[in-house]
């Protein structure tokens, strides 16, 4: 290979093809996905995230939670996500259309969080987990603040140290609101398991 121009154009073409195929092609395909309107409920799904939960998404991102938790339920038969009750259906592209930064996650050192809002009922449960941790989940005490309990009595106390009480910081409250908001509330047509026509019409 002696021709420098050929080398330059070849390298450029290779990257341009992969960029056009993967980046532009996928974006064109995904950009067409719109919220789903349900006539019976007279609502569109998914619903946009509330303000405090939106701020909590940034806390989730900034703490690097996605390095240990995923947010994508795989279909039945591909892993044990459904059997582990991380969701009742597989995640689909429509679930993510309102997410400014999609965080599918890199590993599963902890459970998938796609539907953690269905599994955990109150913010206090999340505070307890964040403050005390478990054998496999570290305690993130920097997300909490201490104050004398006669100054500002709080219903969010997670622990008492002497005459001081430990309450969640604003960051912890935002994170808890975000985690509680994580739930797939609607079964979109494309999320239903594929059944081949032959099988559908076959005799039992």
């Amino acid at each position: 290979m002696k021709n420098g121009t050929f080398l330059f154009l070849g390298i450029f073409a290779a990257l341009a093809i992969s960029w056009a195929g993967l980046a532009l092609g996928t974006n064109a395909q995904i950009a067409g996905v719109r919220p789903y309107y349900d006539q019976l409920e007279d609502k569109t799904f998914p619903e946009p995230m509330a303000g405090i939960a939106k701020r909590g998404r940034v806390v989730y991102q900034n703490l690097g939670c996605a390095s240990c938790h995923t947010q994508a339920v795989h279909r039945a038969g591909s892993g044990s996500d459904i059997e582990r009750k991380w969701g009742t259906r597989q995640s689909v592209a429509r679930d993510y259309i309102y997410q400014e930064r999609v965080q599918l996650g890199q590993s599963r050192l902890g459970p998938d969080l796609t539907n953690v809002g269905n599994r955990v009922k109150t913010a206090n449960e999340i505070y307890q987990l964040l403050y005390h941790g478990t054998a496999i989940k570290p305690a993130y005490r920097f997300l909490f603040v201490e104050h004398p309990h006669d100054v500002e009595p709080s219903s969010k106390v997670v622990a008492r140290i002497g005459d001081r009480e430990v309450v969640p910081s604003a960051q912890a409250e935002e994170l808890a609101a975000y985690l509680l908001s994580l739930k797939t509330a609607y079964d979109y047509p494309e999320a239903k398991p594929f059944v081949s026509k032959a099988k559908e019409g076959a005799h039992p």
Partner: protein, 473 residues
């Protein structure tokens, strides 16, 4: 059949390229070794956190997510980028047969690159990470890195366009591709992921594309350029089946970036994307085959030469990593190892092995030529090689086994996370030991490099012409 002449540089005077490259290459390599030490320390922290989750958990800047983002960033933009730029520009300069032009730009670029990396790391530590693999620093840092990177790459591109020798060697193809593809893919990713993010899960596809491009089309080509340059240069033998080399090159360039989406098997993205990635992972086997065919003489081992040992080990690791990637891209295997320590082991194999080992070899070859001073100790080079290969082997094998065990645990719905963690703990402890060994090797390499630099500085201050003695080559 075109190769390079055997090296006689061990006794020759520094070339024009070496003289002009002395300052910027010295800066790049000094920064690279400092970041390598920081990266090694952070690798140790993240490795400990995997089996002892409470380790440094009370410190906000060392949550596992942030520590991992810091480590990844330091390794890629600190160690790997500085070293890759140095080696690529030096090879292009050497093969152009002319002095490097634009070295002032390179020096300024190096300063700003490392300053931007430092700012980005502080930002990650205080909680401004983006959560995008290989692009963890906040959006405002990346444009500075892009401009600085382009400035550092400029002398390499100028050397290639203004080369006196019209024939192009395989080392030049890979080095030029690395420099060009870095600038193009990095700028594209910044626009599509940070400045004007694409819609929904398309972000995950672009992120996977970018991560693969960074490894396979920026860093790895520099390591391959080093291998194509050093093996014939040191051994004095021609490259066998050199006519096939362009096919291997274009296979990598055209198919590698498509393979990144193999990590999205089962993800909520169009099914054709991971399928295409699996197909391209298999097509890349042709690239590995050609590489093996061309550089098989090097695969036989260093035969006592420490530089050849580094390059040979790196090539072996690259071929092994490529085969493992092709096999484990298939859905049956991917479903087991996805989201486990196995992909971590694969990435480690490619970055710390396939990339870093040939780059270490190239640094051991070029540093005495650029500084005009021989390495103080061949024993230290050998110690670095042994510790690096041992540390890498222990870490990668342990993480791969841990990932396999973890993957089977995740597939069993009756097995909870505490039980999975308990079953992987012995392997994670072994991986920590491997990281410690690798770090020890890096400490020796950095110490040795700075001793060489001090000797070169003393030589310059005393005004006596430095002696280029028989070095490791």
């Amino acid at each position: 059949m075109i190769t390079h002449a055997p090296s006689t540089a061990a006794t020759a005077a520094p070339s024009e390229t070496d003289l002009t490259a002395r300052k910027p290459l010295g800066m790049l390599l000094a920064a690279a070794f400092l970041w390598l030490l920081v990266s090694g320390g952070l690798s140790l922290v993240t490795a400990i956190q995997l089996h002892t989750p409470g380790f440094l958990a009370d410190c906000a800047m060392f949550t596992h997510g942030r520590a991992q983002a810091l480590q990844e960033t330091v390794f890629i933009y600190g160690w790997a980028a500085n070293a890759a730029f140095a080696v690529a520009v030096w090879i292009l300069g050497r093969l152009s047969g002319a002095p490097l032009r634009g070295v002032g730009l390179m020096t300024v670029g190096t300063f700003f690159w490392n300053l931007a990396v430092l700012v980005g790391l502080v930002a990650i530590a205080v909680g401004e990470l983006t959560g995008i693999p290989f692009l963890q620093m906040p959006a405002y840092v990346h444009p500075f890195l892009l401009v600085a990177g382009a400035a550092i790459a400029t002398p390499g591109i100028l050397a290639w366009t203004g080369r006196r020798i019209t024939t192009m060697f395989a080392a030049q193809w890979y080095a030029v591709a690395a420099l060009l593809l870095f600038v193009w893919s990095y700028s594209t990713a910044q626009v599509l992921l940070l400045a004007s993010p694409v819609h929904g899960v398309a972000q995950a596809v672009v992120a996977a594309w970018f991560a693969e491009t960074e490894v396979s089309l920026w860093l790895i080509p520099v390591a391959l350029a080093a291998a194509y340059y050093l093996l014939p240069k040191i051994s004095g033998r021609v490259i066998p089946n050199y006519d096939y080399a362009p096919h291997g090159f274009w296979t990598l360039i055209f198919f590698a970036s498509f393979t990144g989406a193999r990590s999205l098997v089962g993800a909520p993205v169009p099914a054709w994307i991971p399928t295409l990635a699996i197909v391209c992972s298999s097509l890349l086997l042709f690239h590995y085959f050609v590489l093996g065919l061309n550089l098989r003489a090097g695969l036989a081992g260093g035969r006592g030469n420490p530089i050849l040992s580094f390059v040979s080990a790196g090539l072996l690791v690259y071929l092994l990593g490529g085969i493992v990637t092709a096999v484990f891209a298939f859905r049956g295997f991917a479903q087991i190892v996805q989201f486990t320590f196995f992909p971590v082991a694969q990435l480690k194999l490619m970055l710390a092995g396939a990339f870093s080992l040939p780059i270490f070899g190239a640094i051991y070859f070029l540093a005495p030529r650029v500084t005009g001073v021989a390495w103080p100790s061949t024993a230290l080079i050998r110690a670095h090689f042994v510790l690096t290969v041992l540390g890498l082997t222990v870490t990668v094998v342990s993480l791969a086994i841990a990932g396999w065990v973890q993957g089977h645990g995740l597939l069993d719905p009756a097995k909870n996370f505490a039980a999975i963690a308990a079953s992987t703990k012995p392997w994670l402890l072994a991986a920590t030991a491997g990281e410690a060994i690798f770090l020890l090797g890096s400490v020796i390499a950095a110490f040795h490099f700075f001793r060489l630099q001090c000797a070169a500085c003393r030589g310059l201050l005393c005004g006596s012409p430095a002696t280029l003695e028989a070095s490791a080559s």
